[in-house]
């Protein structure tokens, strides 16, 4: 009986710890759990909107590599997320397909291809 009580105590403690991990430490999203194998599952929770838009544009234009403006490259978050999320489309600093933030001025040597909500696609 005593053993059972100890077991019960440890079971409750395990459940309490799992609840704490689930509730406060996990970032669990029920929308993600409903479709964990979906191709775009979880991206809105995991990535900045600019990066999601960048990959959508890349896919739409079927480019093999891309470059980022100086301002985009200076943002470590946007740079690293763009590089890893867009893979296998590769970042290439000599690519002519260059992205600028919507707030940035496009240089004269670049031709505007498309403007979206957060980014501008240019050919430089």
């Amino acid at each position: 009986m005593k053993i059972n009580k100890i077991n019960l105590f440890f079971i409750i403690l395990c459940i309490a710890q799992l609840y704490y991990i689930f509730q406060f430490r996990s970032g669990f999203e029920i929308e993600v759990f409903k479709k964990p194998l979906g191709k775009n599952s979880g991206i809105v929770y995991a990535l900045p909107s600019e990066v999601i838009e960048l990959r959508d544009i890349l896919k739409k234009h079927q480019v093999v590599d891309f470059n980022l403006s100086k301002k985009l490259k200076q943002s470590t978050l946007l740079y690293q997320r763009s590089v890893e999320f867009s893979y296998p489309i590769r970042f290439n600093k000599s690519s002519k397909t260059t992205f600028f933030l919507i707030s940035e001025d496009i240089p004269n040597n670049c031709k505007l291809i498309e403007t979206k909500k957060y980014l501008q696609l240019t050919y430089c």
Partner: protein, 395 residues
């Protein structure tokens, strides 16, 4: 005994299949073989769940909850995205672990070991596409072999305590795509295997070939999870040899130690491949190491700062207290010295590494110390528990 044997066999097969996945990818085997290997892994997990349905129910239920949480959690943290799952994504698309030779995206530390990413890539191959959620599930699956093995050594109440330790120390690292939890668990159980196979001469497991094979698989896995695992296994070997020398019975186990030392081979080959191709970040091992180290060595405030981050971690302190309390209740000189020496040696290495970091010391400690110390916290709490396995309150 029959059931425990099954647990041991399942542990060995799962560990072997995890390493086999890496080997297949290294040797560029056809993707169909890699998928079959992963399916076998899933089948063995099902055997564990259903062969003796009512045996070890707590691990089965709690691990299922971890899987559910993992499948509802997108990968959003920095290291999982930029390093571990990015490596996995590259392996998935390039169908090779060697594509890192181009050193693309240098921020992802291309020379890091890729055992866990390789398994995630194989899961993605099995599903047929990549996404931001399910690949990290394979990291969680890698926790199963050590967790299953330990069931053979602890009674049910003690095993429940052990699971509490796992949730307390490892916590969200069970499912969030980081590998630090894996390093902590594999290091602790590797230390335990070294103890029962080599250090403790009265252990009934000392001459069991099955345990030697499991130890070999766990050691190789530890080194192939993260660079930190190489340092931890090195510490484990050095302390073991020193203890055996002090006892004067090194010769008795030298053949086993030699055999186990071959577990370093895969990581040595991987590092050789990377450095011979100029791949790597070389954060620590570079010509500037003395330039970083020497000015910091002389300042006492650096030692205070490192000690603050390492030792004033609340989980580490609780585990240390539990360890000391356990050995105060039941003294075991051999086990206490073994674990304490490993602890002290690794802390020395940590001080050396932190003092020679090329980054700002505060930033480095703030971003890594709590994760690094998990290995030590888990080690202390596990051995504290194992020490009390046969302890009963005398009224």
């Amino acid at each position: 005994m029959q059931i425990n044997n099954l647990n041991e066999k399942i542990t060995l097969i799962l560990s072997f299949l995890i390493l086999n996945n890496y080997l297949f990818l290294s040797l560029s085997f056809p993707s169909i073989l890699i998928k079959i290997n992963f399916l076998t892994l899933l089948f063995i997990i099902l055997v564990f769940y259903f062969k003796n349905l009512l045996e070890n129910p707590f691990l089965k239920i709690f691990f299922l909850i971890i899987i559910i949480i993992s499948l509802g959690t997108p990968t959003y943290e920095w290291d999982p995205r930029s390093i571990w799952l990015f490596h996995a994504k590259r392996i998935f698309y390039d169908n090779s672990i060697f594509s890192v030779v181009d050193n693309y995206a240098i921020f992802s530390h291309n020379d890091y070991p890729t055992l866990a990413p390789a398994l995630a890539a194989s899961l993605a191959s099995l599903i047929g596409h990549w996404n931001e959620v399910f690949p990290k599930l394979s990291f969680s699956l890698m926790f199963l072999p050590p967790l299953i093995l330990i069931f053979s050594f602890l009674k049910s109440t003690q095993y429940l305590f052990f699971l509490n330790i796992v949730f307390f120390v490892i916590g969200k690292y069970l499912f969030n795509g980081w590998v630090d939890g894996l390093v902590a668990v594999y290091f602790c159980i590797s230390t335990f295997l070294m103890y029962i196979l080599i250090i403790n001469n009265t252990s009934q497991y000392k001459n069991r070939i099955l345990y030697l094979l499991i130890a070999f698989c766990f050691f190789a896995t530890l080194t192939l999870i993260k660079n930190e695992g190489i340092a931890l296994l090195f510490v484990l070997f050095v302390i073991t040899v020193l203890i055996k020398l002090a006892k004067g019975d090194l010769r008795r186990d030298v053949s086993k130690l030699l055999l186990l030392s071959f577990s370093f081979l895969p990581i040595i080959l991987w590092k050789y491949y990377c450095y011979s191709n100029g791949v790597g970040y070389n954060d620590y091992i570079n010509y500037d190491i003395l330039l970083n180290l020497l000015p910091r060595v002389q300042e006492i405030k650096n030692y205070t700062l490192i000690s603050y981050f390492l030792f004033l971690n609340e989980k580490f302190l609780i585990c240390l207290l539990f360890f000391l309390l356990s050995f105060w209740i039941k003294w075991d000189r051999e086990m206490f010295s073994f674990v304490s020496m490993i602890l002290i040696f690794y802390i020395f290495i940590l001080f050396f590494i932190f003092l020679s970091t090329p980054y700002d010391l505060y930033w480095q400690l703030n971003s890594t110390a709590a994760r690094v110390v998990k290995s030590l916290s888990f080690l202390l709490s596990f051995f504290g528990l194992y020490n009390l396995r046969n302890w009963t309150v005398v009224k």
